[in-house]
């Protein structure tokens, strides 16, 4: 069945930068938004279609689905931002849990690095979740718009380092024994690594956890630069550990949203299914894709969704 879907999606992959599929779906969403008499089932169906495309784009661009989901669905669908953020966390959680096994078995998700960081981020994601649910919607929407615009800028200017230089190990990283060895298949070599600037890194995760919980975003966009550029973990370890620790950060925030009634199955379930199926297709299409073009597309989408969210929050647009 997957092959059938891939066959259907291959034309999309060939011209993903131009994104006619995304354009058509966007037009359908706009049309449906302007027509309150639309039958109810159109919405979960549109949501499934949008998140399916999102899942493909996320994999091809190397970003998490959660970071696309909240700004785009929050800006263009008629759902309250509380439910969009709740669904965003479930989407990010499902994706992170499904990616975990491969990363753990290949030792690319390092427990000695991820566990302390996850404890900090998951604790603060609870704070963020309550903050997001307590604040007036226009303030959350405006703050989301600013955050998404900054994330788009981060994608433009941030340069990852495959094997960053690490200065002297700090006392905390020594005490925790953070470091390890992983197998770099592309070079057929093992790589020994460690980290530094651990206290500064941990401090950053208080902020990352809060933002993740507040906006329902998967936080890979922030985890990876902090683990890689600040703490000096090799890129693969940073990406692998980031994805794994999302499964923990998003769990605590997701529970707060579930307990506060902010997870509506009719929004969350089609989104999870769409993005997971899209990711599976995206992985199959990865070999023939042009990652740079897709990444530019993602940046444009984020800038547009960020601006839309900002203007919506300020009461200027929608």
């Amino acid at each position: 069945m997957l092959d059938l879907i891939i066959g259907g999606a291959s034309s999309f992959a060939a011209s993903v930068a131009a994104s006619p599929a995304a354009g058509n779906i966007s037009a359908s969403v706009q049309a449906a938004s302007g027509n309150p008499g639309m039958p109810w089932w159109i919405w979960p169906l549109l949501l499934f279609a949008v998140t399916f495309v999102m899942g493909i784009i996320a994999v091809l661009a190397g970003v998490g689905g959660g970071v696309l989901f909240v700004p785009i669905v929050g800006s263009f669908f008629p759902f309250h931002l509380d439910f969009v953020r709740g669904a965003g966390l479930v989407v990010a959680l499902a994706g992170a849990l499904a990616a975990g096994p491969g990363l753990l078995k290949a030792n690319l998700a390092n427990l000695r690095l991820a566990l302390p960081v996850a404890l900090i981020a998951s604790t603060f994601s609870i704070v963020g979740a309550f903050l997001g649910l307590a604040l007036p919607t226009n303030i959350t929407q405006t703050a989301l718009g600013i955050t998404i615009t900054l994330i788009a800028l981060l994608f433009i200017f941030s340069k990852n380092s495959e094997y960053p230089s690490v200065g002297g190990r700090d006392a905390l990283s020594k005490k925790l024994g953070i470091g390890g060895t992983y197998y770099e298949a592309s070079a057929g070599k093992t790589v020994d690594w460690t980290v530094w600037r651990t206290p500064q890194g941990f401090l950053m995760f208080t902020f990352i956890g809060t933002v993740a919980g507040m906006f329902g975003l998967g936080a890979g966009w922030a985890n990876v630069p902090v683990l890689n550029l600040l703490m000096g973990a090799p890129l693969k370890i940073a990406v692998g550990s980031s994805k794994f620790l999302l499964s923990i950060t998003d769990t605590s925030a997701a529970w707060i949203y579930i307990n506060q009634g902010a997870v509506m199955p009719i929004i969350a379930v089609p989104s999870v299914l769409g993005i997971m199926l899209g990711s599976l297709v995206g992985v199959r299409l990865l070999a023939g894709a042009k990652p740079k073009a897709v990444r530019y597309l993602v940046i444009i989408m984020l800038l547009f969704a960020g601006l839309r969210s900002l203007l919506k929050g300020l009461g200027i647009w929608g």
Partner: protein, 155 residues
């Protein structure tokens, strides 16, 4: 100090396909297997229970055709307007399709706690006091978040 890329050929372990230097702890493998089967089982439960709800096979607390009245509300207003319970109150309503769909989500939310309960005995056996404490604290944080005890007076 530069991250050290080891030169020379590496002897691969037959079982894992990884070189012998890259040891993956048994508890890490167990955790990975839990996530592998647990996450896809959870997603399958989500799909099935959702289909039962939207197809009208299970009765709905809020009919899918009526849900549009609520999804534009703030979550606190929705709870009040639709008389939906806070916290784990939804468990009493799993006979309804819309609440049955939450079972899969709760399972996904429980996986990490179960995974940590696999890690804890392993760290205790290794007498790794710091990581045992980190794992125990994380379980506490997640259970507290899941309990519904936090923020119950907020609305």
């Amino acid at each position: 100090m530069k991250t050290k890329v080891n030169k020379g050929s590496e002897k691969a372990s037959v079982k894992s396909g990884l070189p012998e230097q890259v040891q993956v702890a048994p508890e890490q493998i167990k955790y990975a297997n839990l996530l592998l089967y647990g996450s896809w089982a959870g997603i399958a439960v989500l799909a099935v229970t959702f289909m039962l709800y939207v197809a009208g096979i299970t009765p709905a607390y809020i009919d899918p055709a009526q849900i549009q009245q609520y999804w534009g509300m703030k979550s606190s207003a929705y709870l009040e307007a639709a008389k939906v319970p806070h916290g784990w109150g939804w468990l009493r309503m799993v006979g309804y399709g819309d609440f049955l769909s939450l079972v899969g989500m709760a399972w996904l939310g429980a996986l990490t706690v179960i995974g940590y309960l696999i890690l804890l005995p392993a760290y205790l056996r290794k007498k790794d006091a710091i990581y045992s404490a980190i794992v125990a604290l994380e379980v506490l944080v997640l259970v507290l978040a899941a309990s519904g005890l936090l923020g119950t007076g907020g609305h």
